[in-house]
């Protein structure tokens, strides 16, 4: 595998007669930040589930060099009968680190809350905290910023980038938000509707200082990208 964290070759997935993924091929380097971008139901979650070993491909091959996978599920998937801190302890029993991450996520005073008394965004933050807690070498994010307000989202994104610089995990993200995608990733893969093929790869060659929602290079890139999407998807 060498410098690659992930090699995908001609990957296909069918659920019964429903063909979801059709012949995807691409590689992901170690430490790369990749975003999958595509219409609802095109197989993004399915792909992430294949990567994390929860689903088997129908055809094709996928090679993964990662050991520790942190995954932010599209639905928070918290254990309902455990409070926040116990939910985190479930994946790693290190209270110091847990408290640290909860603080960053602005959840310190909710340690003993059960998931049913958390707001949607708070659950999502616990979900994120869990993924970061284990110091993953592959971080999988399936719409991680759902229900988060702009300020919270910005802070968390910055934090993810900071950790990335420090420990250099590989990042696989799914999002429907163009800004998020451009802000975080080194490359965006654009997918077609189901049965889904890879439409285009979009390298994001922004410098660090250009990664600012109001920077002109950012806005230009955003415009181009949106035009590209809209031109490709006449119908959803």
């Amino acid at each position: 595998m060498g410098i690659f964290a992930l090699k995908v070759q001609n990957l296909s997935k069918k659920f019964g007669k429903l063909s979801v993924i059709e012949g995807w091929s691409f590689d992901v380097k170690r430490g790369e930040k990749l975003t999958l971008f595509g219409p609802s139901g095109c197989g993004k979650t399915t792909f992430l589930r294949i990567v994390s070993g929860l689903e088997k491909p129908t055809f094709g091959e996928i090679q993964i060099s990662s050991q520790k996978i942190g995954m932010v599920f599209q639905e928070p998937t918290l254990i309902p009968w455990k409070n926040v801190i116990d939910n985190l302890r479930f994946v790693r029993k290190n209270d110091e680190k847990i408290r640290n991450i909860l603080k960053k996520m602005n959840l310190s005073s909710f340690e003993t809350y059960f998931p049913s008394s958390l707001s949607g965004g708070m659950k999502q933050r616990v979900n994120l905290a869990r993924a970061l807690l284990i110091n993953p070498d592959l971080l999988i994010l399936d719409e991680p910023f759902f229900s988060l307000d702009l300020a919270t989202k910005m802070e968390i994104m910055k934090d993810i980038k900071r950790v990335h610089e420090k420990i250099g995990f590989t990042l696989l993200m799914v999002t429907h938000d163009v800004k998020e995608a451009i802000y975080i990733s080194d490359r965006i893969i654009l997918l077609s509707p189901r049965p889904s093929r890879i439409l285009k790869e979009f390298p994001i060659s922004l410098k660090d200082e250009e990664r600012d929602f109001s920077h002109s290079s950012f806005i230009t890139l955003e415009g181009e990208f949106i035009k590209e999407i809209l031109s490709r998807t006449s119908k959803i």
Binding site: G53, I69, M71, F73, E75, T77, I79, F90, F114, I134
Partner: protein
Amino acid sequence: MKTLIGIVALLLAWQIISLMIGATLILPTPYQTFEALIKLFGEVDTFSAILSTIWKSFLTLLLVMGIGIPIGVMMGSNDSLYEFIRPGVMVIQSVPIISWLALVIFLWGIGWRGPILISFLSLLPTAIFTSASGMKNVDKSLLEMAKVYNVSRKDVLKDVYLGSIMPFILATFEVSVGSVWKVMIMAEYLCGGSGIGVLISWARQYVDVPQIYALTFIAVIIGLSTERISRFYAKKAFKKWEFSL
């Protein structure tokens, strides 16, 4: 409060039915039973019998929960094991006690072990099957999460499965606590050395029907109160599961 009304309603129904039947040898009135009860409490035998039944039932419950739940959990988490063990449990479940009473007496004699074995075997299948179906009811997405995070099998059992089967275990517990008395008394009746069931068998011998009903009444009272107490503690112990609902 409502429970109290329920109990009063029950006593009333009893009184009315016994008046309708009008044969105290078949169904004594609550009053006659009460008289017999008073008489029973005058005898020291009664207390030792009650104690004997209580500790045996308690031990039986412990055994049922302690053995039935783990077996159910194992069966529920492995389909092959499930299919393999099921016939045995089914046999225990469908063979009437009278068919193997001699075997029990042979193995355990007349005394405390026979009744415990019989009641244990009577309650076990329910405990096993209920916890097994609890296991099959586990939220798959939580299991997937645990898999991705490489959580140890032990922790998954403790934190995910145990939590999911908790409502089922509570149901089993409730059912077992409720019926252990009936089962234990029947077992004592058949092969017990002491206990309420033995007293009932003696009372039946000399057709002292009010006494039979008085002894039954004691059993019911013990049953109702232990159920109360155990519910209270069970609720406390499993309080966190309440939050999740």
